[in-house]
């Protein structure tokens, strides 16, 4: 079934107020930034309020939407003319965007609340909340936009927020560098997105979904593929997919709530959103672009998982896992309508359990005064019961423990991919196994075994303002998957937005891949327990085998970038500067110097001897006469 037609909203109801979703947090950010120190006292509260307000609006819109007949569920609200003849600012309210809105605003609000506690000691907490609000606004604009330009504004907006938040502790050089890296790498992706937009505009003379999507098929095959691949480049940048993955791990320099919200739950999934949103148009089932998407997805999910296995920094471990999970979503999104629902479902559940895990990790760090090295944890389950329980639920969810969220969504992905392309499917299964390993390793190293931290640390459970969000998130991590997948709830709901496969998938728990997955996960977990639970974990990192180092070094991704881009770039820069000063400017100054020099030399002919002057006159006269002769007799 093709996606439904995009209608322009007739007005009325919450939908016509949807812009509030964006404006509320934006206003929050503006007030907090312009208000300055004056708002320090209540700034964080305002931040939370705005985020919650956005959630309320989202919920109302959602309710109005499901009230409508499925064919009516794609409505665009035109706000104002942005660039005459090129683009307006308008919102597209449809099942896809609203699902994102709910996820963003709900998880976002929770993380806002959590941050009140987490950032309580930070003098710049107000600024932190301002940035968080800014992020929420931008992210909502991204998903709500009804055209690529508006989407791009949100797209870069979240990039900015991410830059600001990664670099929030800018006095740490590592943070500043990481922030810059994230932005620049994202810009590489944006380059693709921009060119994609140019191509779309040149092709269709418009950038609004409503006019592009229905006509996409009329464009030539090559053009469609080109657009698809360019969009994918953008997606890779935002979602830390190969080859633009390198920034995500460094991004963990930011405060943990940021990692939870931006670099796990929402922003990094924007790439998936982009692919799914343009899917019907530019990544149709069986298209080249789609194939590339799936390949990228698989590669990334494996890479992320492998990286995850070797990290001792708990956040980096989770970051690797995020890469890997998004890999799953990409993989699913790449195979067309059959996969969209699962991709989104996994995206949503992942939003919850990964946020849960990150916040849990944050809570642990909070307890261990910002120690991130898992080798210095151990045996924390007694001291941080709530954190432990919630974290453990998140853990079960992500490894796909039966009946928890991850189980349904990831399994759904694997199943659908299997039908599409067995090899990819089995690789996905392998990834699941590795997931089992590194997540178990993380839990074991953190919460079990003997304590390995030094005496200065006095682990303590976090305050309620931090634990409650954990609890709520963990609750969703348990049930959400089942709710979305069983009886294809999400699939049917999304159908008007992304279309749906000819025959609906049916969920059968005991399929071969499903069981294999479980088995592999169990094996992975077993190995982890055997390796880290039974035997002593050294506090200092051992050299490790070649493979371990390979994983630890992020598969040499940075080394590669350095060798391929940064070094040559630096040389090129030096060369260019030299060329500019010596080459171009050299010519200019040389010319001036030449004139001056010749003047210095020529003036010597003015010897001061009257007879030489007379000579010049005499010769001059002779030359003149000669010339006259020549010319005259010609």
């Amino acid at each position: 079934m093709e996606p439904a037609e995009i209608l322009s909203h007739a007005g009325g109801g919450a939908i016509s107020l949807a812009w509030l979703m964006i404006v509320l947090p934006l206003a929050g950010a503006a007030i907090l930034l312009i208000g300055g120190r004056a708002t320090n006292k209540w700034g964080h509260l305002l931040g939370v309020l705005m985020s919650v307000g956005a959630f309320v609006v989202a919920a109302l819109v959602f309710l109005q939407l499901i009230g409508l007949d499925p064919a009516q569920r794609r409505q665009s609200v035109n706000l104002y003319e942005f660039i005459p003849g090129v683009a307006n600012i308008g919102l597209l309210i449809d099942p896809l965007s609203i699902s994102f809105c709910l996820l963003i605003t709900f998880v976002g609000s929770l993380i806002h609340v959590y941050s009140i506690g987490y950032m309580s000691h930070d003098p710049d907490r107000r600024r932190f909340f301002a940035y968080l609000n800014l992020f929420v606004a931008a992210m909502l604009l991204l998903v709500l936009a009804d055209n690529y330009v508006a989407l791009f504004i949100g797209w870069e907006g979240v990039g900015l927020a991410s830059y600001l938040l990664i670099g929030f502790w800018q006095y740490k050089p590592s943070a500043a560098v990481a922030a810059k890296k994230a932005f620049v790498v994202n810009r590489v992706g944006d380059f693709g997105l921009l060119v994609a937009m140019f191509l779309i505009f040149a092709q269709f003379g418009t950038l609004s979904y409503a006019e592009v999507f229905p006509n996409a098929a009329q464009a030539s095959q090559g053009v469609q593929t080109a657009i698809g691949l360019l969009l994918l480049l953008g997606a890779c940048g935002k979602s830390a997919q190969l080859p633009l993955q390198s920034w995500l791990l460094d991004a963990m320099e930011g405060p943990t709530p940021v990692s939870a919200l931006i670099h796990a739950a929402t922003m990094v999934t924007a790439g998936v959103y982009l692919v799914v949103r343009s899917g019907a148009a530019f990544f149709p089932e069986g298209s080249t672009a789609g194939l590339v998407v799936t390949i990228v997805g698989v590669a990334t999910l494996l890479a992320g998982a492998i990286i995850g296995t070797a990290k001792d920094d708990i956040k980096k471990g989770l970051a690797g896992s995020t890469m890997s999970q998004i890999g799953y979503m990409m993989l699913a999104a790449g195979i067309g309508p059959a996969g969209y629902a699962f991709a989104i479902a996994h995206l949503i559940t992942h939003g919850f359990f990964k946020a849960d895990l990150f916040l849990g990790a944050g809570s642990v760090m909070h307890a261990m005064n910002d120690e991130v090295d898992m080798r210095r944890y151990g045996g924390l389950r007694k001291l941080l019961p709530i954190t432990f329980v919630t974290f453990f639920i998140g853990y079960l969810a992500i490894i796909g423990f039966p009946l928890l969220s991850g189980y349904f969504t990831k399994d759904g992905i694997i199943e659908s991919v299997m039908h599409h392309n067995a090899i990819l499917g089995w690789l996905a299964v392998l990834g699941a196994g590795i997931t089992g390993f590194y997540m178990t390793r993380m839990v074991v190293m953190t919460f079990f075994g003997p304590k390995r931290w030094d005496e200065k640390a006095h682990p303590h459970e976090s305050p309620a303002v931090m634990t409650w969000p954990l609890i709520i998130l963990s609750v969703f991590s348990v049930g959400l998957g089942a709710y979305l997948i069983l009886s294809n709830r999400l699939l049917v709901f999304l159908a008007p937005a992304v279309g749906q496969p000819a025959e609906l998938p049916v969920f059968h728990p005991f399929s071969v891949p499903g069981l294999t997955t479980l088995a592999l996960v169990a094996v992975g977990a077993g190995i982890a327990i055997a390796k880290y639970g039974r035997s002593e974990v050294p506090v200092v990192q051992p050299r490790g085998s070649f493979l371990t180092v390979f994983a630890r070094r992020d598969l040499y991704g940075d080394a590669l970038n350095e060798a391929l881009f940064m070094r040559p770039g630096q040389w090129l820069t030096r060369l260019a500067v030299f060329f500019d000063n010596r080459g171009i400017d050299g010519v200019v100054n040389g010319l001036a110097a030449g004139v001056g020099g010749s003047s210095g030399r020529l003036r010597k002919i003015q010897t001061g001897y009257v007879r030489s002057y007379a000579l010049s006159i005499f010769v001059g006269a002779a030359v003149l006469a000669g010339a006259w002769f020549v010319v005259g007799t010609l």
Binding site: G608, Y609, R611, L615, F618
Partner: protein
């Protein structure tokens, strides 16, 4: 048969000119200039003869007057600079240059 006179005047003019170039003594240089003027006079008179009108001869008189005036001025100047420098060599007066 006026050609010879013209050649002569040309020769005189050239001699005068070369004299200006080669002699150092201001007076001599100046006399060379006078020589050039007189070469002109010769040319004028000759041409007057050739063209059969008296203009040239009249002009010659004018030129003599002018030359005379020039002598007055010139000697005055040369004498002053001689008094100052105790030398009439034009090569000594080469402070102004470049």
């Amino acid at each position: 048969m006026t050609t010879h006179y013209l050649v002569l005047s040309a020769l005189l003019f050239a001699i005068g000119g070369i004299g200006v170039l080669v002699r150092r003594n201001a007076i001599v240089v100046f006399m060379c200039v006078e020589l050039m003027l007189n070469a002109c006079n010769l040319a004028f008179v000759t041409f007057a003869r050739q063209n059969g009108n008296v203009d040239g001869q009249v002009i010659a008189f004018f030129v003599m007057i002018v030359a005379a005036a020039e002598v007055v001025i010139g000697l005055a100047i040369i004498v002053t600079i001689f008094r100052t420098r105790r030398s009439a060599s034009v090569d000594d007066a080469s402070l102004l240059k470049y």
